[in-house]
Symmetry: C2
């Protein structure tokens, strides 16, 4: 999961999809300078990490953010905000 958000393009995909609620693959790919297959692979990486999920709607692949999964990361970071002695 951490590796998935290590790439700037993937972080931006994640934010963009989150803001919109859900987006088709092409709509996402259209916002990036990268070639479609490149963005397509980023989507696959994000999905493999459990950060995105997708379902077909006709010929579109619609992606949405998995917030629960991101919650795990926030939870992990929480360890650093609590006092280690407490």
């Amino acid at each position: 999961m951490c590796a998935a958000i290590a790439h700037p393009a993937r972080r931006q995909i994640l934010l963009t999809v989150h803001m919109r609620g859900s987006m088709a693959a092409g709509e996402i790919a259209g916002r990036f300078a990268h070639a479609w297959p490149t963005t397509s692979r980023h989507l696959r990486v994000l999905e493999a990490a459990g950060l995105l999920s997708h379902k077909r709607q006709g010929r579109n692949h619609v992606y949405a953010v998995d917030h629960a999964r991101l919650g795990l990361l926030t939870e992990w970071l929480g360890w650093f905000h609590r006092d280690p002695l407490g």
Copy 2:
């Protein structure tokens, strides 16, 4: 910064140093199966990302976590926990 925490060993280093407050490089390296130079590089990566800082104490290099830096990541994650419409 995200790339820095993409590696399991580096996440563990971060947590371990945090729990202890501060640790010498050798003390850290001793806890991993990896060769010292490998861990040494992980430390450099974490420091380059601003997640660790170090100072010499005699012949020891003592590392500590930079919490403010981690705060930025938590802040970024916050975007996903707030409602995108609000």
